[in-house]
Amino acid sequence: MDFEETAVKARAFSYFRAATIDQALDAHARAGDDARFIAGGQSLVPALSLRLQAPRLLIDITHIAELRGIRREGACLRIGALTRHCEMLSEPLIAEFAPLLHAAAPFVAHPAIRNRGTFGGSVALADPASEFPAMTLALDAEIEIAGSSGSRRVKADDFFVDLFETALQPGELITAIYVPLFKADQRFAFDELARRRGDYALVGCGMLATFTSDRIDDIRISFFSVGNTPTRVKGAEAALIGFGLDAERIAAAQAALESDLAPPENDEVPPAMRLHLARVLLGRLLGRLGEAG
């Protein structure tokens, strides 16, 4: 097919479809800085069209079978990097063993984008406003990375470094994300405040807690759209661990956000407002977590 000349505005690039992880890594190594992996293309293609990025080579990873599939592996669910956002909604294994991802998925963009966008792509991009990267923190997930020196696993806590900067080295590929299986004594909650359904949120939050009857033994709370990276709020977590969820504890967790978060300057949403919204959202989610028992 001959492209409609008016529609294609990206700089010209070459295209390579990799069949295996090794082929993808090799192609990238040979092209150096001028190559990009492309998965769902839902972030990369707009960047190309806007000429914010102009790589010489696109390496299509969507035909690499090893990056697909969701399966149980020991105490974890292994979620292939190519798992699409829409599969987070439709796959029974996700609903059962990673319900937080299932709960977050409807808030990620719109159906057309969810049909193409991938979990691996979302985590690799590490947009601080994205739902899934933040949820890997709440889930204590591990990111499996393939590179020239072999494969390694990095804890989500160590993965997100700075704005759009992760533990991925140039030319490395996310192959899967490992999520500990959801257990009977756990509860989760997720919500976000977005001006319109499907938009990136002004503030969003997901949490996973382990209870002994009504006492919180452990809780991981992760925010997005609050700074340069997805952000765990350890002060708020500490305010809750070992206690039942009463108004006083919730207020203490909300108060802790002041030091946990440092929202950026923004012409539309001033830092103080974002902090306020984070407190409101945290309060509401903890309320729901309490009711979920």
Binding site: R195, L202, L277
Partner: protein, 791 residues
């Protein structure tokens, strides 16, 4: 017992009937012919290098590398195009004293807004043209940018047009009655300052144009996604010196317009020039970012208003100052002052008071131009008026319905002239108020609101009365010297097979113009609607007319079609009478058959008349010349405008912790005179309301202090989406205009006119327990939380 017959029960009675648009299926099936899709042989593609500065001198342009890039055919600057295109100035004579600098397709030595096109590249593909843009270097020297309204008004401050005395484009004042006296003796005065954010049309299909100059024929053909092809035919002819008859503008399917696509854009004028320079078709389609920085914006206003009332809540006077900032130029050819002019003339329009003073100041600044966009000026006038009325009601302890019922012009008091000089033929405020009250279940809503408040749930109820300007006469533009027609033309023919073709000057942008014209033609001739073909949007084919702007398609275009069809019917019956040896008055046409007017007995099909007239004229009496094509023009006379009216209501919920607003339900009672197609009218209202709700809660073109648009993408500029939109309930009151046979007025802008005012009132109603008020649109969570002092 059978139900009584209505006019809808006679055959071919299409006026007043909900019928689907004949073109909807074609568009849904992907068979639309949009300019964006058009591809001509030897066609080239234009792209524009845009200014990154809001105000700067162009020191130098170096395009050497771009010129030699493979696939590039032309790099053109302002100077190149100025050689073949004359400058234009966006002023109109009836706006006394207004000024605006002359404009050219591309600037010669100074850029005046960030995003202004500076250099054009024409290449074999858009991608190559974009590659070439990256090779062009422009040296700028910054000039002080005028962004803020206050800065623009400072004496001795920076100037958008260096050397001019001030940044004022136009100033106007209305003063009638005894305003000062009324305020001095008023029992109550309410006062507020309102802020309205800029927003823009965001059409699904961006601006698109293919200019095709044929040097051999000296003929310019422009495929243009516009609502006003005749206006552009005239402008291309005059500014490029090509005889009008050798300029053809074709406007086929258009992916939305909303007034945005009837202005002259620098890129569009440039593309015509590029095609002339190259002798080849040149295409340009704005991308979304370009749309945000170069489509007209609208509604950047700051309004200070006061209202005086007596002890009982009778409105005595209003006093208003409207400051509006319009960008660096006034838009051509309709100017950028019409919006402000309509704001000050429409404020207070539904009400009886006689003492009114308003000052309008239209100000230049270094942003993209503003101009007419759906419901020009109405939403601002309506929001100011209706919020003042609600503030007054609160102050006096009156219900919002009660204070309006007390102050609207009575339905039996027409004709009336407003203090601003508008003449109202007949409006129905009282009837509309009453209907809305019932439709909303107002008393129940109030009871529910009170109940929920006790539980910390804050609902708001808002209503807003409005008046809309439709069916404009030459008083709108013609008197100002603009070659913008307020009349329309139609050519109606009986085809040899007995069908009817109607070529008409009003155009179709998806609102159903072609559908209603075919309904009127079929109804008036006596023919099944599927046997009527309507053709629009080609200056070579359709007669000259105003096309689509303001609200005029049904009211003026519809009347044109009606009168043309009646003339054709007379001609058909004349021939039929000769053949049947009857008097024409003894015959009629029903369902494509000539019948006896009295008995309805069928005499002969009109197809047979067509056959005889076209192929066997020898069998007609000598001297008979059948005229089975009629051309007819209609210009509105009588009232300068056909005003319409209505009232909207809404119910919403404010989350006082997050500042988020959830729209629950929206209501409208609307009076557009004769309703031709209720379904299309309702969809116009729904679409218009959604645009108004977008303005109320979401849409704003935000600028940095340095004049950069900071949210020029659909991720950051929020348009209303279905998930956030409420159900919209609609009813009609019908007060036809007596100025036409058809009696139809306009309806396209009524929804947008009052929706934002309604939401503004409802949000303030919801916040009443907190002594927090909102006086700015759009109403964002930030503004709500600030008003509530939550951060």
């Amino acid at each position: 017992m059978t139900a009584p017959l209505t006019s809808l029960d006679r055959p071919n009675s299409y006026i007043g009937r909900s019928l689907p648009r004949p073109n909807a299926k074609r568009l849904l099936a992907g068979r639309g012919r949009y300019v964006s899709d058009l591809r001509l042989p030897r066609m080239l593609y234009a792209a524009f290098l845009r200014s990154p500065r809001a105000h700067a001198t162009i020191v130098s342009i170096n395009a050497d590398e771009a010129r030699v890039l493979e696939g590039v055919h032309l790099v053109a600057t302002g100077a190149d195009l100025a050689k073949i295109c004359t400058a234009w100035t966006g002023t109109l004579d009836h706006f006394k004293g207004m000024t605006s600098a002359p404009q050219l397709p591309l600037p010669l030595d100074r850029v005046v807004w960030a995003g202004q096109a500076v250099v054009a590249v024409v290449a074999e593909s858009r991608a190559i043209a974009e590659d070439a843009l990256e090779l062009i270097e422009v040296d700028y020297e910054d000039l002080p940018a005028v962004v803020d309204i206050d800065v623009a008004r400072e004496a001795g401050g920076p100037q958008v047009n260096p050397g001019s005395a001030s940044n004022i484009c136009f100033r106007s004042q209305l003063d009638s009655g005894t305003v000062d006296d009324a305020f001095a003796h008023a029992a109550h005065v309410v006062e507020e300052e309102f802020f309205f954010g800029r927003h823009t049309a965001v059409t699904l299909e961006p601006r698109a144009i293919v200019a095709d100059y044929d040097p051999a024929a000296g003929m310019l053909t422009v495929h243009h996604g516009t609502q006003t092809p005749y206006q552009f035919q005239d402008l291309y002819s005059r500014h490029y010196g090509i005889p009008e008859a050798r300029v053809r503008v074709i406007a086929t399917d258009i992916g939305g317009s909303f007034g945005m696509k009837l202005h002259v854009y620098h890129e569009d004028m440039a593309v015509v020039g590029l095609s002339i320079l190259l002798g080849r078709p040149v295409k340009y389609v704005a991308d979304r970012i370009e749309s945000f920085v170069s489509d007209i914006h609208a509604r950047e206003h700051r309004v200070r208003a006061r209202m005086a009332l007596d002890t009982k809540g009778e409105i005595l006077a209003m006093d208003v100052l409207d400051l509006t900032a319009i960008g660096a130029f006034s838009t051509y050819p309709r100017t950028s002052v019409v919006e402000g002019n309509q704001v000050i003339r429409l404020i207070g329009a539904p009400y009886r008071f006689r003492n009114y003073r308003a000052t309008l100041e239209v100000i230049f600044q270094n942003k993209v131009q503003t101009s007419q966009y759906r419901a020009v000026g109405h939403p601002i006038a309506c929001a100011v008026t209706e919020r003042m009325v609600d503030m007054a009601a609160a102050k006096l302890g009156l219900d919002p319905f009660a204070i309006r019922a007390q102050n609207v012009i009575a339905d039996d008091a027409y004709p009336q002239t407003s203090p601003t000089g508008y003449r109202f033929e007949a409006l129905s405020h009282q009837a509309c108020l009453k209907r809305l009250h019932e439709m909303m279940g107002y008393d129940d809503l109030r009871a529910e609101q009170a109940e929920l408040r006790k539980r910390g749930v804050y609902r708001g109820i808002g209503i807003a009365t409005f008046v809309e300007i439709t069916n404009p006469s030459p008083a709108f533009y013609g008197v100002g010297g603009a070659r913008i027609s307020s009349q329309d033309g139609a050519i109606v023919s009986l085809t040899p097979s007995g069908e009817v073709r109607c070529l008409i000057s009003v155009t179709e942008q998806g609102q159903g113009t072609e559908a209603i014209i075919s309904q009127i033609v079929a109804d008036q001739l006596g023919l099944a609607q599927e046997h009527v073909k309507v053709i629009t949007g080609d200056t070579e084919v359709t007669p000259h007319g105003g096309a689509t702007w303001a609200c005029r398609g049904a009211g003026i275009g519809g009347e044109t079609a009606l009168q043309a069809t009646r003339a054709l019917k007379r001609n058909i019956l004349e021939i039929a009478a000769l053949i049947l040896q009857e008097q024409p008055s003894a015959l009629d046409i029903v369902d494509g058959e000539v019948v006896d007017a009295g008995t309805r007995n069928q005499r002969m099909p009109i197809a047979e008349i067509a056959r005889i007239a076209y192929f066997r004229s020898d069998t007609l009496p000598p001297g008979t010349q059948a005229q089975l094509t009629v051309s007819h023009h209609f210009a509105p006379q009588g009232y300068p405008f056909a005003f319409t009216n209505g009232i909207q209501g809404c119910s919403l919920e404010v989350d006082v912790d997050t500042g988020f607003i959830r729209l629950l339900k929206h209501f409208i009672v609307e009076d557009c005179g004769r309703v031709i197609n209720p379904m299309l009218v309702d969809e116009q209202l729904r679409g218009g309301i959604v645009q108004g709700l977008g303005a109320a809660l979401f849409e704003e073109c935000r600028y940095s202090d340095t004049g950069q648009l900071v949210n020029g993408s659909l991720a950051d500029y929020l348009v209303p989406m279905p998930m956030e939109m409420p159900d919209i309930l609609i009813t009609h009151v019908e007060t036809p205009t007596a100025d036409t046979e058809l009696g139809a007025k306009g309806v396209g802008e009524a929804g947008t006119a009052a929706a934002s005012a309604c939401v503004l009132n409802a949000v303030n109603d919801a916040l009443a327990p907190f002594a927090a008020t909102i006086n700015a649109i759009p109403i964002t969570p930030t503004k709500v939380l600030k008003a509530l002092k939550r951060f």
